[in-house]
Symmetry: C2
Subunit: 413 residues, 2 copies
């Protein structure tokens, strides 16, 4: 017996590796291995199967599992149907003790999803009137929102593995620092939240959080090397190499929007340079292009001249409905995007490229235009081995991806 109140253990206790090497910690390490294995398995598993994976004998596993059951961490799930031989009892984690909090903080929106180990949301809270600004008051607002969501969900803190947070701007996931927000008193935002919430907190860039969502529940689930292009009003990129997110030395990686691809003849970008992709291929740019075309006398069926406040999502919808001008403009953007992606394919040889963000809603004509652009820059071999697809994830992607970051940190996914 290695601790007193067996029914009061926190999930985190097992997953924390910084323990001394006495006997207690040995058993905890073995238990952690079992928990990780059970978490990754989508079906309940038998003692011999666990023993085989953990490389420990069946009697030992029996003892460990019994201990974990006493602690309410593991439950028996009855017998399993087999073709022959005695049917084994199978075991799985007690779902109600393994929750993760995923938070998405965007400029005008904050959302919390509390998810189980399979990333199903068991509680959702969002605020679409939120306004992000770099003030201590806003930092408190974010903290309060998360804290309130946790209380409202009625999930005990001891059953929460950790909090993942994806936010706008540049973020260094290793140091837990946001470069644009909430870095007061030189205290990393992740550390601030962790202290206040009394939970482990991991933060990441919003685009990378969406990339992780694609990696764990999206179409690139089993693909090791891929790229997720997040195009909505702006454009961002998550690079996945060997199933891991590329963050670079300081968390700045993926600044695809400022890739220069047309020489220096393009529009001036907010970054101060000319010819950035963001000025040509983005929702912002689409609105601009559309308005310019209309002003130049071109016609659009569904968005007649004179209509005010045309938003890029409307243009994409119109294109999907077959309206000529919006479709032509999107194809134009697709070709440019393709040419830029061709360079990246040559560099990184990804197996798949996912178009995520609002642009994922654009019809196949858009992907076709990207493909056509690829040939301008991409080499034959890497191109032949790379698929371009649109994301199918719709709702909650950011918050679920943020939760996934926690599960990945603890190697539970």
């Amino acid at each position: 017996m290695f601790y007193q109140n067996k029914k009061n253990m926190t999930t985190r206790y097992f997953l924390n590796n910084n323990l001394s090497s006495d006997n207690e910690s040995r058993q905890i390490k073995q238990s952690a291995k079992i928990i990780r294995f059970l978490a990754k398995s989508d079906v309940p598993v038998s003692l011999p199967v666990i023993a085989n994976h953990i490389k420990v004998s069946v009697p030992t596993i029996t003892k460990l599992i019994n201990d974990l059951m006493e602690q309410d961490m593991v439950v028996e799930d009855g017998k399993k149907e087999t073709d022959n031989g005695r049917k084994p009892s199978v075991y799985s984690l007690t779902k109600s003790h393994f929750y993760t909090v995923g938070v998405e903080v965007l400029l005008r929106r904050i959302q919390v999803n509390i998810t189980d180990l399979n990333l199903n949301s068991v509680f959702i809270s969002k605020n679409t009137t939120f306004e992000l600004e770099n003030s201590e008051a806003c930092r408190e607002e974010v903290l309060a929102f998360i804290d309130h969501a946790i209380s409202e969900s009625d999930i005990a803190k001891k059953d929460i593995i950790g909090v993942g947070l994806g936010m706008t701007g540049r973020v260094n996931g290793v140091t837990g620092r946001s470069y644009n927000f909430f870095g007061f008193d030189d205290l990393p935002f992740a550390d601030f939240l962790s202290k206040e919430l009394d939970l482990p907190v991991f933060i990441e860039n919003d685009t990378r959080v969406i990339g992780v969502a694609e990696l764990v529940i999206g179409k690139v689930k089993n693909i090791n090397n891929n790229i997720i292009v997040n195009i909505s009003r702006g454009v961002g990129m998550t690079i996945i190499v060997n199933r891991k997110m590329v963050t670079g030395g300081n968390g700045f990686a993926g600044e695809f929007g400022h890739m220069q691809f047309v020489g220096n003849e393009g529009r001036l970008c907010i970054c101060g340079k000319k010819g950035c992709l963001d000025t040509e291929v983005s929702g912002k740019a689409l609105e601009l292009l559309f308005n310019e075309s209309i002003a130049a006398g071109e016609q659009s069926l569904m968005l007649p001249a004179g209509k005010e406040n045309i938003r890029y999502d409307d243009i994409i919808s119109a294109a999907n409905d077959g309206d000529y001008l919006p479709m032509a403009l999107l194809q134009q953007q697709g070709e440019k995007l393709g040419a830029a992606l061709g360079n990246i394919i040559n560099l990184l040889n990804p197996e798949m490229i996912v178009i995520a963000g609002k642009y994922s809603r654009a019809g196949s004509f858009f992907r076709d235009s990207i493909r056509s652009g690829l040939y301008k820059t991409g080499l034959k071999d890497p191109l032949a081995n790379c698929q371009i697809i649109s994301s199918e994830l719709v709702q909650n992607t950011g918050a679920i991806g943020a939760a996934a970051i926690v599960l990945r940190k603890y190697d539970l996914i």
Copy 2:
């Protein structure tokens, strides 16, 4: 006692993980951990230190080390000087039982270096009259050259951990296949060599092999995210993310030479596209540019008009000696290179970029011109966190890097 002839064990025996889970393999796994730890430590270490790292008690480590000493794998290195307490005996690997073979196969050159665990060459063999071609005869020639080098070195095969080979062209390090050479009968070249030499063989692209050399013995030794640009007659790139080489899904990654950066107005490249970096920034391009300038009437101090067969290395030397035209041309190339690298810095946020290959010999004026080019495309933050340096590795880089690939595969470095 877990095997008979203790003095006849091969080093490979320990490092191979595919063993059943009986007691013998348990001890071998523990021994492998000790070997890996000793290999990585550059000084002999004591029993308590090993015990602490391997997370096993001192008596157990004592037994394992004694067994390894009986097998001649480990030697005692006397007592260590300490400040207080009893002085411990310290242990290290028997150097003479841990060799690696590194092979570099280029178009007109083949070289074998046999190295110890510290990547010091103990035997070198090279052939500069070699001509690489995709024929079975040439494949046999490569095999014979390696085989002959091993025999000549008088190192027993059982003391060789494995063979690493870096070669020109596209290579998939995972499948062991070269796309350009020696893929006869659908047998991966690595498998062919492995079968014939009766040794584990790992192959890689020549540029990536140089990149690994930089990572293990070069200036980026302790840098996790970096880029090694290999510029000689052509231009290649090794991308290192989280201390690991990026190969992409099919080993095509790093095709930097065909990155398009000047729109489609450049020269026609051998890849069929226009505007590739290779047509502007490479030894080839430098020769072309120089000849064009001379033909257009420009003057060069050290390479007067009329001289035949001017090679790019000579132009670099002349530039280093202060000759104006060569220096101006190199600066022109550096600026373009910098602009291309700026995009990559935005994408990957490397901490360091190493200029390797023949161009690493170019003076600081060249690096300065690269830096000046960076500002055209690179964003402020990632740029501020990225250094540009020249490689200091000179000789044997390819073969040593190839040997390093083996050590990395076995986690000995």
